[in-house]
């Protein structure tokens, strides 16, 4: 199946980071739906119909508890289907990777399902498939998450498996070596994909290898080779503590029942003091730099432009979301309209803020047909400059309504609800965040949008990464004099490939 995609895939996760809401505010007074006319003669098909008032979102019921060992429990009830999502959110991730051992957190997560003191890797997988449940673990920058999606008919057995994986991983040596080999091979394969090379080069260019955000979460071939079983155990023992974790359960469950089960599973988990992880705010670029990474024969040039954005805790959160929706966060955003719908240079263009504990990246991106690489750069810069002017009021209203009125759909499924609430846990944001989100979006003004655009989007201090066919695209890019141009090849970005 092929679809008319709205955004480039690399931005999806960044864009998902900012949505919320409940009650709906409209910019025009609601008009009741007129009774249907009885004869076709009275129907005017040339005008869009007048709509009634948009619905109010009733947020799901949230119950919070805490066990004596400090484990927080958040239960969100959704009784539509007999299913549940269970997530153990540990508030430490790749940010805490030891120097030179990037990828430790993600390797810890990968190993959780590869053996416990009571089950082998194959037994874990057998039990999950037999129960018909999905069990996985992953790490982001500031969190590690063990996730279970299960029919509630299997909740007892599924939770037993979930608890085993979360609390009793044994990091078996043979399994670690197998998983390490898979990881190392996957890292080699990154060389095949221009967009992935561009992501890597951009993070490195914006933050530098000294900053956690400048390094890859899944590590490098060198760092992954150097991580020992003891490193994994140390990371796990230090950070996987009940007082550093929250159990989030969404679905066809009752709070008292969840608490009882949580006591049984996690009650004996012992607390410990967990070192705070701090990530410094990276310093921004002094001028524009274009890093051109040669990928001979590439049919498209992978563009990543931007710089340092904002932390999740920013008071500019809602203004940033509105500004980004205008710029590159929706199908009708300026970047997509310009680069795709006006010029046909790409299948999709967009932008997003990686809102993390510390200021993450702001990235505008697209995959551009090789022959239009220089033309696309002109249009990108034009839009990054124009967003600093006043956004017309109708365009602003559209973006705000898109964010406000689209909120109910985000709370439809158990997975959807979990993904809305998980970032609140990670970043310590009150759980009633969505209750006021609609009003907060409504309060964003033209001046707010202009202010955050000018603060976070600086077309004169951009980091630009273009991964593409150098011999075809370099002359055109140089002619535009975008700033300092640095030529790299793939091995500069990813290191030399091992000899086969």
């Amino acid at each position: 199946m092929i679809a008319r995609a709205r955004h480039v895939a690399t931005l999806a996760s960044v864009l998902l980071a900012g949505c919320g809401g409940a009650k709906v505010v409209t910019t025009t007074p609601p008009v009741p739906i007129a009774p249907p006319p009885t004869t076709a003669a009275t129907v005017d098909l040339t005008k869009p119909p007048t709509l009634g008032a948009p619905p109010t979102l009733n947020l799901p019921q949230i119950t919070t508890r805490e066990l004596p060992n400090g484990l927080k429990i958040v239960v969100i009830e959704q009784h539509e289907l007999p299913i549940a999502d269970v997530l153990l959110e540990v508030r430490t991730g790749g940010e805490a990777d030891p120097v030179g051992k990037m990828g430790t957190a993600s390797l810890v997560s990968a190993m959780l399902t590869e053996g416990t003191t009571t089950r082998s890797a194959l037994q874990i997988a057998d039990q999950a498939a037999y129960l018909g449940v999905q069990l996985s673990a992953s790490s982001g920058w500031e969190q590690s998450t063990v996730s279970l999606h299960t029919p509630t008919a299997q909740l007892d057995s599924a939770l037993a498996l979930f608890g085993d994986v979360a609390l009793r991983p044994s990091f078996p040596t043979a399994d670690l070596e197998r998983v390490r080999k898979v990881r190392l091979t996957a890292l080699q394969q990154v060389r095949d994909r221009g967009p992935a090379i561009a992501d890597r080069a951009f993070a490195s260019a914006v933050f530098g290898e000294q900053h956690p955000y400048g390094r890859p979460l899944s590590g490098t071939e060198g760092s992954v080779a150097s991580i020992s079983r003891e490193d994994l155990q140390r990371f796990y023992t230090t950070y996987f503590r009940p007082n550093n974790a929250t159990l989030l359960v969404v679905g066809d469950v009752r709070p008292n029942d969840v608490e009882r089960r949580a006591r049984e599973l996690f009650g004996a988990w012992s607390r410990a003091s967990v070192p705070a992880v701090t990530t410094s705010t990276a310093s921004g670029a002094k001028g524009t730099t274009l890093v051109l990474v040669d990928k001979p024969g590439a049919a498209q040039s992978s563009f990543r432009l931007g710089g340092i954005g904002a932390p999740r805790s920013t008071s500019d959160y809602f203004a940033l979301q509105v500004m980004n929706t205008v710029l590159g966060g929706a199908f009708t955003s300026r970047l997509n309209q310009n680069l795709r719908e006006t010029h046909g240079y790409t299948y999709g263009a967009g932008s997003g803020f990686g809102l993390r504990r510390s200021a993450g990246p702001f990235i505008a991106s697209a995959e551009i047909v090789t022959a239009k690489t220089d033309s696309a750069l002109i249009e990108f810069i034009k839009e990054l400059r124009a967003i600093r002017d006043t956004v017309p009021s109708d365009e602003l209203a559209k973006a705000k309504r898109y964010l406000q009125l689209g909120l109910p759909a985000n709370f439809e499924t158990t997975e959807g609800i979990a993904s809305e609430f998980l970032p609140l846990l990670t970043y310590g944001i009150p759980l009633d965040f969505y209750a006021t989100a609609v009003q907060q979006y409504g309060a964003v003004t033209q001046a707010d949008v202009q202010r955050v655009a000018r603060q976070y989007v600086d077309p004169d201090k951009l980091t630009i990464v273009v991964v593409g066919d150098r011999k075809t695209i370099e002359p055109g890019l140089r002619a535009l004099k975008p700033g300092e141009i640095i030529i790299r090849d793939v091995r500069d970005v990813l290191g030399a490939p091992p000899t086969p």
Partner: protein, 450 residues
């Protein structure tokens, strides 16, 4: 009901888990102009989905115009008589809606996910493009979306590792006259050749109300919805002619075919493909289960042997792909650095042989069935998912009311069924493609490897 532990006898385990799949309630009606309308109410979230399936896909394309059904899908978003260029998306975003479309070999769909108050807007927009697309169609709209689609092809196929494997295999597996001989994205040459006359002709042939099914699912009032549907769609005339349906030629792959494709990749990859059966064929579900047994999870035959135990492969994949008209079964293996694709082929052949000779265990069957049963439940979680299911069953099975029958196909699969289809289908001549790093054609698997 709870699941028993590992110690319980195998026979008991297989029936231990049975979370039922709720029935999907719906109402179906047909307008005088032939438009099928399916309604499914679900008031749990204040959103509603409008999902229109046109019964046309890349399988309906003519020689020299591959990719056209999908290119046409893009043109459908460029405005219609009462919707200026660009406003389709803007009006929908301004009411908080998302929308998209997709094209397969068999059908094309268009959907909107809306706050429930905005239902009439989506119906009006979709009716306007169903009834009045051509009066404002022009060369510029076609040319623009042609460029976008060519970039879609570059992004998803040409500039993606292994991205051209699918079209290479389909061209070799299905004969030239077969509707699945080419893939949905089409060729650059054919995309370039598409003309404005093609757009007009295609619209008149396939985009008539009597060639479409409209599904409304979610939070809406039935009577209001039917009134709006009648108001906006009721006056659209039937298509002048009934579209010609693609004819599937009877064929069999006569002998093993070995192909090689050079690509900008680090590792070679082996693709084995067999002609199989279409969706809801009596053997379709057993082939799905066979795919699970071969590569569905860590304990599956190929994953456990090649990736877990021997560690000679980076990944394995197996699936039965069944369309409305025909199907194929595919196994994909990426060897680890330094490993030969020919060895992968030999190992795969060995594992298929074991299943065909010795069958599968009750536990393997239970893992597959229980996982599939759970995913039936998940398919009901969103109204968009449900709307697609209703439209798909209606088109593929002849009735929207088919969830239980679909699941029942899997519930009754036996170990003997899986063993039989392994021997019957995967013993037939196949198409073997090796994608190799540029300049390393010597890695190609050839007939001698077997």
């Amino acid at each position: 009901m709870s699941i028993m532990g590992l110690a319980v006898p195998l026979a008991a385990q297989q029936t231990a888990s049975a979370p039922g799949v709720p029935k999907l309630r719906f109402e179906k009606t047909t307008l005088a102009n032939g438009l099928e309308v399916i309604l499914h109410e679900d008031h749990s979230t204040p959103i509603v989905v409008v999902n229109t399936w046109y019964h046309v896909g890349s399988g309906d394309e003519k020689p020299g115009r591959t990719g056209f059904a999908h290119l046409f899908e893009h043109v459908m978003f460029m405005g219609s008589q009462n919707v200026p260029v660009g406003q389709f998306d803007k009006w929908l975003e301004a009411v908080g809606a998302d929308n998209n479309g997709s094209t397969t070999t068999d059908r094309t769909n268009y959907y909107e996910v809306l706050p429930s108050n905005a239902l009439p807007l989506a119906l009006w927009l979709d009716a306007d493009r169903m009834g009045r697309l051509l009066p404002v169609m022009d060369q510029a709209k076609l040319d623009l979306q042609r460029d976008v689609v060519k970039n879609e092809r570059r992004q998803r196929y040409d500039n993606t590792p292994y991205g051209r494997a699918g079209e290479t295999i389909m061209a070799a597996l299905f004969p030239a006259a077969h509707p699945y001989h080419w893939t949905t994205i089409g060729s650059m040459t054919d995309l370039s050749a598409a003309s404005l006359d093609d757009v007009k002709d295609f619209f008149r042939t396939y985009y008539a109300p009597n060639n479409a099914t409209l599904v409304i699912a979610g939070d809406f009032n039935r009577d209001s919805a039917l009134t709006w549907v009648q108001r906006y769609f009721g006056s659209i005339p039937r298509g002048a002619k009934s579209p010609e349906r693609p004819v599937v030629p009877a064929f069999a792959v006569a002998r093993d075919t070995f192909l090689v494709l050079e690509d900008k990749v680090t590792l070679p990859r082996l693709y084995e493909t067999w002609h199989s059966v279409k969706i809801f064929h009596p053997d379709d579900a057993a082939l799905d289960v066979l795919a699970d047994v071969l590569a569905g999870d860590k304990n599956s035959r190929l994953y456990k042997r090649l990736v877990f135990d021997m560690q000679v492969a980076q990944d394995v994949n197996a699936f039965q792909s069944s369309g409305r008209l025909d199907g194929y079964f595919q196994i994909i293996v990426t060897p680890k650095p330094g490993q030969l694709p020919s060895r992968m082929l030999a190992l795969v052949t060995e594992e298929i042989g074991k299943i065909a000779r010795d069958g599968v265990t009750p536990r393997e069957l239970a893992r597959s069935l229980n996982s599939r049963r759970a995913s039936f439940l998940d398919n009901l979680a969103s109204v968009l998912g449900k709307s697609n299911q209703l439209a798909s069953y209606d088109y593929m099975a002849g009735t929207p009311d088919y969830v239980q029958q679909d699941l029942a196909r899997y519930e009754k699969i036996t170990a003997a069924d899986v063993q039989r289809v392994a021997g019957e289908y995967l013993n037939k001549p196949k198409v073997v493609l090796t994608v190799v790093p540029e300049g390393r054609r010597q890695l190609m698997v050839t007939g001698g490897a077997k």
